[in-house]
């Protein structure tokens, strides 16, 4: 089972190939193949997880992929330990739920089969990413998930905004990937290998270190910044909401965006060995988290709120990693995957019902969509960190990880407050109160069972998944993801109380503003018009980029185009013209002089022969005459 774990990514790959090549005309069969493949992977992943968690030994299987002598030697393979097993569960579970959910959500879409092929492609890439035992294979899978993300964001490419968003996501993450690959090359230069084992071994032995390692780690973190939408490359994730909502749930909430977190977690040895890099990671994480949370306060698009929430939570995880909170971060990664995908799927269910993304046109939907509403509430409570839901336990560990760093702790708690606030703002505005759009409300209905069952399952996980990290249970979550010595997570009752209090106050504020209406949100916004507008426009980051990078780039491109069209083409054409003229001259010279010389020689020879051939009379008497005449003449001349 473990030895054949490499088959897990192969399953969706085969599914994709089958759909693309054979069954793409049969929609039901295509979806069935994809879901079956993912279901097998799901079962397999859980089996592996129970095996590995019961017996925390790393398993590595690799084979030679590229061997160019001793200097270039790249094996690829898979590695199964607690972390990758946990990631396997997250990926397969969410993917399976999303695929089942999509049966209903994507029903009637003209590119239904292709949608499932893309999902399978993504599954393959993501599973490869989490199973890789070296940075190289990880990078390959990393790019493949980027491709799948691009394809799925732009899935409805008839919409200009969707195709733009796909391009934006692809290009923005590519900037980060540039850092990633530079980091990889530096690591390879330093350690001579790209396997996790080899690189970490080199760090522990001191072969890698100092400023070199710091630089390499920061470059590596560049990849994570792009993929996990950290400041300053966070701009693509909100736009990525143009894709189908289940895609957002799978790729842009639960799995692909946490690849960056996973990368940093995997390479935490590097970051711990490089103090500056770790601090950088922590600061980027908290800034991202805080910024995204503030933006999330005022957004009106249900998916965008969730997207900023995702960015914010990812910032949490990254920050925790920067502070060395490996367990906290990976724990939160898992719980977040469940409740955030649940939130997205719930949002998708709502959108499916009312055909709009704008929460200002919703309201009172609880009466129409009880299951969606209830599961959404559970997920909101979980993300807010209310006892005993999963978010409580994981967020508690993150807050615990910041102990000793007061600034981080305060900001973290601030984010927790804002998170609770905007999640319940979203909940109250969507599901409670009076319907603000009567027409849409009348047409709203509960989603079909293929959509609600995944919601229920994920809600169940959102509740219970935190319990494997119960502090008084063995070693907590660290026993799951640590393969070395687990460190015991202390349960700080005071911290837990504080964070719960913060969360409750956030919920309370939202309750007052959007349920009781005792505080008018418009007045609050009006009290700080500048701040409100800034937040609504996401700190003008996109606009700043447009002015700072895109505009100059366009101007530069135009200049380059002008240069190309005038100077380069001019040189090329001039060279061509010169060559043409030179060729003509050469032809003229050739025809006139060279041929003339040859022909002239021929003419001379011919003329000479034509003249003297008359000496050959054929008459013997003539010849004899010449002989005797010559005799006489020679005698005279003697």
């Amino acid at each position: 089972m473990l030895a054949n774990a490499w088959l897990i990514p192969v399953l969706p790959l085969v599914a994709m190939a089958l759909i693309m090549l054979v069954t793409h005309r049969n929609r039901t069969l295509s979806a069935g193949i994809s879901i079956t493949a993912m279901a097998i992977a799901f079962v397999w992943a859980w089996a592996i997880a129970f095996t590995v968690w019961g017996n925390p030994v790393e398993q590595r299987f690799h084979f030679e992929w590229l061997n160019l002598g001793p200097s270039m030697h790249i094996p690829i393979g898979i590695q199964i330990d607690g972390l990758s097993a946990m990631m396997l569960i997250v990926v397969t579970t969410v993917a399976l739920m999303v695929q089942i959910y999509s049966l209903g959500y994507m029903h009637g879409d003209p590119r239904y089969s292709r949608y499932y092929a893309y999902l399978s492609l993504f599954g393959m890439a993501m599973l490869t990413l989490v199973l890789a035992d070296n940075f190289f294979l990880m990078f390959v899978a990393w790019e493949l998930v980027g491709l799948a993300s691009y394809l799925l964001i732009g899935f409805w490419f008839e919409k200009q905004s969707a195709s733009d968003a796909g391009k934006k996501a692809f290009i923005t993450t590519r900037l980060g990937d540039l850092g990633f690959i530079i980091g990889l090359l530096m690591l390879y230069a330093g350690a001579g290998t790209l396997t996790f084992e080899g690189v970490f071994g080199a760090v522990e032995k001191g072969l890698l270190g100092g400023a070199f390692l710091t630089t390499a780690a920061i470059f590596l973190f560049g990849g994570a910044i792009g993929k996990s939408a950290q400041v300053p490359l966070h701009v693509w994730l909100p736009d990525a909401m143009e894709g189908p909502t289940p895609v957002s749930a799978l790729i842009h909430a639960a799995t692909m965006v946490v690849a960056g977190v996973y990368l940093v977690a995997r390479g935490l040895t590097l970051f711990m060995a490089a103090e500056t890099a770790a601090i950088t990671v922590a600061w980027i994480g908290i800034i991202t988290s805080f910024m995204a949370a503030t933006i999330g306060l005022v957004q009106n698009d249900i998916k965008r709120v969730l997207a900023y929430s995702t960015v914010s939570q990812l910032g949490y995880m990254v920050m925790a990693l920067g502070l060395g909170g490996f367990t906290a971060s990976t724990f939160h990664l898992m719980t977040h995957a469940f409740f955030k995908s649940l939130l997205f799927l719930g949002a998708g269910s709502v959108i499916h019902a009312v055909h709009t993304n704008d929460i200002r046109e919703m309201g009172g939907l609880h009466s129409k969509m009880k299951i969606t509403s209830t599961t959404f509430l559970i997920a909101s409570l979980a993300i807010a960190g209310i006892f005993p839901l999963s978010g409580f336990w994981s967020k508690d560990e993150i807050v615990a990880a910041t102990s000793g760093h007061p600034v981080f702790m305060i900001l973290t708690l601030g984010v927790a407050f804002m998170t609770a606030f905007y999640m319940f703002r979203l909940y109250f505005l969507t599901f409670t109160g009076t319907p603000r759009d009567k027409h849409k409300f009348d047409h709203a209905h509960e989603s079909p069972k293929v959509m609600t069952y995944p919601l229920i399952f994920l809600a169940f996980l959102s509740v219970v998944s935190g319990w494997i990290g119960l502090p008084w249970l063995h070693h907590g979550f660290s026993s799951v993801v640590y393969h070395g010595e687990p460190h015991h997570a202390e349960f700080h009752i005071s911290l837990a109380l504080i964070s719960t209090l913060v969360a409750l106050s956030g919920i309370g504020l939202a309750y007052l503003m959007y349920y009781k209406r005792s505080i008018d949100p418009v007045k609050v916004g009006g009290a700080m018009p500048g701040l409100y507008r800034t937040l609504l426009n996401k700190y003008y980051v996109d606009e700043a980029y447009a002015v700072l990078f895109i505009k100059p780039y366009y101007v530069f491109c135009q200049a380059m185009f002008w240069f190309d069209a005038n100077v380069v083409d001019g040189i090329v054409n001039g060279t061509g013209q010169f060559g043409l003229l030179w060729g003509r001259f050469q032809r003229w010279f050739d025809e006139t002089f060279v041929d003339g010389a040859v022909n002239g020689l021929g003419w001379v020879t011919r003329g000479f022969g034509a003249t003297i051939r008359y000496l050959q009379t054929g008459s013997l008497q003539n010849y004899a005459f010449i002989v005797f005449a010559a005799l006489v003449i020679l005698w005279i001349l003697r």
Binding site: Q621, N622, F625, F628, L631, V632
Partner: protein
């Protein structure tokens, strides 16, 4: 003028005159006759030079064999009646010039050359000496000449033989047309 000189001059006159007739006579048959005369003259010279064997050989071979062979050839080929046909080619003038030039050259050389005279008379039995020499000192050329003569004999037969073995030409249906095809000039050669 002693008798030897008289004999020499008269023989020389006969030879030169006959030779001139040989090369100028319009009738080829006359030429042949004058040639015989000239050859006889030469034989006479040989006698005067006390080369009796050669004189005999001259008469036998030249006059008897070669001249008669010439006669045969003349009979077989020439149209004696062709009095009107030009008997010299167009290089008569230049030919004469060259001949005279050559003669001048030869005579001048002769004039220039000091000849050594052996006052001794010809030894007795010169013919015997000659025969001995031919079979001793000159035996190799002698044998080669015999082979040459044999080769000439066979060669003459082969050449002159009517060649009708190799390419058996079918009898033409129209002999005149065939003759015309073989020699387009035949029309001009038709006897008048």
């Amino acid at each position: 003028m002693d008798s030897t000189a008289l004999a020499f001059y008269s023989l020389a006159f006969i030879i030169i005159a006959a030779a001139i007739f040989v090369v100028t006579a319009k009738n080829i048959f006359h030429s042949a006759v004058y040639l015989i005369v000239a050859l006889f003259g030469v034989a006479g010279l040989f006698v005067l030079l006390q080369a009796f064997f050669l004189a005999a050989a001259q008469v036998l071979i030249y006059v008897g064999a070669i001249a008669v062979l010439m006669m045969f050839a003349v009979m077989l080929t020439a149209r004696i009646a062709d009095a009107g046909v030009r008997h010299t080619n167009e290089q008569v003038g230049t030919g004469l010039l060259v001949s005279l030039g050559l003669l001048a050259v030869m005579l001048y050389s002769l004039w220039d050359s000091p000849f050594q005279f052996s006052g001794a008379p010809v030894a007795e039995g010169a013919g015997l000496t000659l025969g001995r020499q031919l079979l001793t000192k000159f035996v190799l050329p002698f044998e080669i000449v015999s082979v040459l003569l044999l080769a000439a004999l066979i060669g003459a037969v082969v050449i002159a033989k009517k060649d009708d073995t190799g390419r058996a030409e079918p009898k033409a249906k129209y002999p005149a047309a065939r003759a015309l095809r073989e020699d387009p000039d035949i029309v001009r050669k038709v006897p008048r």
